[in-house]
C-alpha cells in the first residue's frame, strides 16, 4: 500500500511496540526506537519517509532530534507527539519543520490519516 517506511520514537516502549503492530497490520513498514539517539542512528542506516517522534524523552529531546533529522534528512517528514503542550509550541510547527504536532492521546485512526498525508508529502512518493 505504501512505499514509505515509518520510524516510531518514544521512551514509552509499550506505546511504540503496540503502535508498530497496529501500523504493520495496515501494511506499513515500521521500525521502533526508544530514544532520539537510536532514532538518528536508524536514519543513518536507511531512509524513512515519516518519523513519529515523542517530545519529552530522557537524553535528546524531541525538538533536538527533529532539528538533526531536518539537517541530515530534509525529505523525511516528522510528526511530533507530546504528553503536554507547553509554550504554544503547536503554533510553531511550520518554523520547526515538523509536519504536525499532536497531543497524546491522539486517536489512532486520525494519527494514521496524518501519517498517510505525511507519506504523500514525501518527495518521490507515488500516487
Amino acid at each position: 500500500m505504501s512505499q514509505g517506511r515509518i520510524l516510531v520514537v518514544d521512551d514509552e516502549t509499550e506505546f511504540t511496540s503496540t503502535l508498530g503492530k497496529v501500523l504493520r497490520r495496515r501494511g506499513y513498514a515500521v521500525e521502533t526506537r526508544s530514544s532520539g539517539e537510536a532514532a538518528l542512528a536508524a536514519l543513518e542506516e536507511a531512509p524513512f519517509a515519516v518519523v513519529v517522534l515523542d517530545v519529552k524523552m530522557p537524553g535528546m529531546q524531541g525538538p533536538e532530534v527533529l532539528a538533526a533529522i531536518k539537517r541530515a534528512h530534509p525529505e523525511t517528514q516528522v510528526i511530533l507527539m507530546t504528553g503536554h503542550l507547553s509554550g504554544g509550541a503547536e503554533g510553531d510547527v511550520p518554523s520547526t519543520g515538523a509536519f504536525a504536532y499532536l497531543l497524546k492521546p491522539y486517536p489512532i485512526p486520525d494519527l494514521i490519516a496524518i501519517i498517510d498525508a505525511a507519506v504523500a508529502e514525501t518527495p518521490g512518493a507515488g500516487g
Binding site: 503496540t18 529531546q61 504528553g83 503536554h84 497531543l103 492521546p105
Partner: protein, 557 residues
C-alpha cells in the same frame, strides 16, 4: 501575641516621643532659670548700688551745704553781733530755708556755751571734753557721730571754728536725725529692703523702715571702712540678709542697704514657680501628645500590617495556583502517556478481534494487550491517588504535622514530573519530631522548592533532586538539593525577592521563593540557600519542632 508586640511598640514610641519632647523642654527651662537667676541678681545688685550711691551723694551734698551755710554764717557775723541777737534771726532764716536743725549755739575756746538758741536749756554747759570739740579745735570743721549728749536725745553736731583776734569761738548746730531718716528710709525695695546709716561702731544713726531704735546695734557684718560699694551676705538673727554698703567720706558713717535674701530673690522664686508650672504643663502636654501620636501611629501600623497580611494571603494564593499549575504540567504528561498507550492497545485489540474467527495466537495477543491496558490503568491510578492524597491536605489551620509523611506524598507526585524530565528524585528521611504548621502551607513551601529544583535540572543528563530530612540542633531540617547549574552569585541575594525570576516570561511568577520565605518565617523557621555554580543548589528549611515533641512517638503516614 500580636497585640503584645503592638503594646511594646506603643510603649517604645511613647518613651522616644517623651524623650525628644521633654529633654529639650527641660534643657531650655534650666537654661532659662540660670539666665534669669544671674540677670535677676545683677539687676538687684545694680539697683542696690545705684540707690546707695544716689543717697550717699544726697547726704554728702546735704552735709556739705549745711557746713558751708554755717561757715558763711561764722564768717559773716562777728561774735558780738551774734551774741547780741543776730543768732536768733539767723536761726529763723536758716530754718525758713528748709534746713532742719534743732538748735544753734556759740561756744568759746574754753568750751563754755556763750549763746544758745533752741528748745533745750543748755546754758552753762561745758564741752571741753567732748569728742567733737576736740575735733573741731583740731580740724576747724566737725560733723560728729550721733550721741545722746546733755539733752539725752540722739543727735549729731556740725561745728565750725572761727579765728577771732588770737582766740577762737565755735558756731555749733545740732541736728536730729529725722531728716536723714526720712531721706534714707525713702529708699525701699521689695518687702524688706531698707536703707539706714550706721556709725563706725555699727550703731543705727537713722531710724529704719522697721523702726529699730536709734543707736541700737545694727548687726552689720563688716565695719571696716572701704572704698566704693561692697556687697555682703550675712545671717542676722537666723535670717539671711544681703548687705550693700558704702562709706561716706566725712563723717565716718556707713550707708547700708539691707534686704532679706528671700525677698531679694523673690522674683526669681516666683519666676521659678511659674517656670516649673509651665514646664510641668509642657511635660503633661508632651505626654498627652506623645500618647496620642503613638496611639495613632500604632493604629496606622496595625492597619498597614493587616493590609499587608491580606496582600500576603492573596499572594500566597496566587503562588499556590502557580505552583499547582507547574506541577499539573508534569502530571498531565504522566497521565497522557499511559492514555496514549491504552488508546493504541485498544486499537490493536479491535484490529485483532476484527477477523473471524479469531486465531488462537491473536486471542493470546488480545489477552496480553488487555493486561497491558490494566498495567497502564494502575499507573494512572497511582498518579491520581497520589494527587488526591496530596490535595486532601487542605487544612490551613496549624496542627501537628509529620513532615516525612508530607514530603513522601509530595515526592510521589513530583516523581511523575521528574521522570518526564529524565530526573531522578530521591528521598532520604531521618526520624524527625512533628512540627506545628498548616499542612497546606507546608505543601506550598516544599512544592515550590521541589518544583524549582526540578526546573534547575530539567533536560540535563543525570539530573538529580534529593529531598532529605533530619534533626539539626533541636530544629527540623529539610534540604532540597539539585545538581543543576547553580545560582550565579549575583542572583543569590535576590532570589527571595518577590517577582524575581530567571524563567521565561509566562513560566515563572517570581513569587515562589518569596512566598516560601514568608511562610517559613511565619512558622518561626528560616529558609536559606547554598549554591555552587556548576555543582547545584541546596535550599534548607529549618522549622522549630512542636512543643513537647520527642516524648511522643512520631506517627508515620
Amino acid at each position: 501575641m500580636i497585640g503584645e508586640s503592638y503594646r511594646v511598640l506603643f510603649r517604645s514610641l511613647v518613651r522616644r516621643l517623651l524623650l525628644v519632647s521633654i529633654l529639650p523642654l527641660l534643657v531650655i527651662a534650666s537654661a532659662n532659670f540660670l539666665l534669669f537667676y544671674s540677670l535677676n541678681r545683677s539687676i538687684v545688685l545694680e539697683q542696690h548700688a545705684s540707690l546707695l550711691s544716689y543717697h550717699r551723694q544726697s547726704i554728702e551734698a546735704f552735709l556739705a551745704s549745711i557746713t558751708a551755710e554755717l561757715t558763711n554764717l561764722a564768717q559773716a557775723y562777728s561774735l558780738e553781733e551774734l551774741r547780741r541777737g543776730d543768732l536768733e534771726r539767723v536761726f529763723r532764716v536758716i530754718q525758713q530755708q528748709g534746713i532742719v536743725f534743732t538748735d544753734i549755739g556759740i561756744i568759746d575756746s574754753a568750751g563754755n556755751h556763750l549763746k544758745y538758741v533752741g528748745p533745750y536749756d543748755l546754758s552753762g554747759k561745758n564741752y571741753r571734753n567732748t569728742a567733737w570739740f576736740a575735733e573741731v579745735v583740731g580740724k576747724g570743721v566737725c560733723v560728729s557721730e550721733m550721741f545722746l549728749g546733755f539733752r539725752g536725745v540722739p543727735h549729731f553736731v556740725v561745728a565750725i571754728k572761727r579765728q577771732d583776734k588770737g582766740d577762737f569761738w565755735i558756731l555749733r548746730a545740732t541736728f536730729n536725725t529725722d531728716y536723714f531718716s526720712t531721706l534714707v528710709s525713702g529708699a525701699r525695695i521689695g518687702k524688706t529692703g531698707e536703707a539706714f546709716i550706721v556709725d563706725s561702731r555699727g550703731l543705727y544713726q537713722t531710724k529704719t523702715r522697721f523702726a529699730s531704735a536709734l543707736l541700737a546695734p545694727s548687726g552689720c557684718p563688716d565695719l571696716t571702712p572701704h572704698e566704693g560699694i561692697r556687697v555682703r551676705r550675712a545671717s542676722v538673727g537666723g535670717t539671711r540678709y544681703l548687705f550693700t554698703t558704702t562709706w561716706l567720706s566725712d563723717p565716718h558713717w556707713m550707708l547700708v542697704f539691707r534686704q532679706e535674701e528671700s525677698d531679694v530673690f523673690s522674683p526669681l522664686r516666683s519666676a521659678t514657680l511659674i517656670g516649673i508650672v509651665m514646664s510641668a504643663g509642657g511635660v503633661i502636654g508632651a505626654g498627652v501628645l506623645a500618647v496620642a501620636v503613638a496611639r495613632d501611629l500604632v493604629r496606622r501600623i496595625a492597619l498597614a500590617d493587616r493590609e499587608k497580611e491580606a496582600l500576603t494571603q492573596r499572594l500566597v494564593a496566587t503562588g499556590k495556583t502557580a505552583a499547582v499549575g507547574e506541577m499539573s504540567a508534569g502530571l498531565a504528561h504522566e497521565i497522557n502517556n499511559p492514555l496514549a498507550t491504552i488508546d493504541t492497545l485498544q486499537t490493536w485489540i479491535r484490529d485483532l478481534a476484527g477477523g473471524a474467527p479469531i486465531a488462537e495466537e491473536d486471542r493470546q495477543e488480545i489477552l496480553d494487550s488487555a493486561a497491558k491496558i490494566g498495567e497502564q490503568v494502575v499507573r494512572c491510578k497511582a498518579i491520581t491517588q497520589g494527587l488526591l492524597k496530596f490535595a486532601r491536605r487542605v487544612e490551613s489551620k496549624p496542627e501537628e504535622v509529620d513532615l516525612n509523611a508530607l514530603l513522601a506524598e509530595l515526592a510521589t507526585i513530583m516523581r511523575s514530573r521528574a521522570r518526564v524530565e529524565g530526573i531522578t528524585l530521591s528521598t532520604d528521611f531521618s526520624q524527625v519530631p512533628p512540627v506545628i504548621a498548616s499542612p497546606s502551607n507546608l505543601q506550598q513551601i516544599f512544592m515550590n522548592l521541589v518544583n524549582n529544583a526540578v526546573d534547575a535540572v530539567a533536560g540535563r543528563p543525570g539530573g538529580e533532586v534529593k529531598i532529605a530530612s533530619r534533626l539539626d540542633g533541636g530544629k527540623v531540617r529539610v534540604d532540597v538539593a539539585d545538581n543543576g547549574a547553580g545560582i550565579p552569585p549575583e542572583n543569590l541575594s535576590k532570589i527571595f525577592l518577590p517577582f524575581f525570576t530567571t524563567k521565561p516570561i509566562g513560566q515563572g511568577t517570581g513569587l515562589g521563593l518569596a512566598i516560601c520565605h514568608g511562610l517559613v518565617h511565619e512558622l518561626g523557621g528560616s529558609l536559606s540557600v547554598e549554591s555552587v555554580p556548576g555543582k547545584g543548589t541546596t535550599m534548607t528549611v529549618l522549622l522549630p519542632k512542636a512543643p513537647g515533641a520527642g516524648q511522643r512517638k512520631t506517627e508515620n503516614a
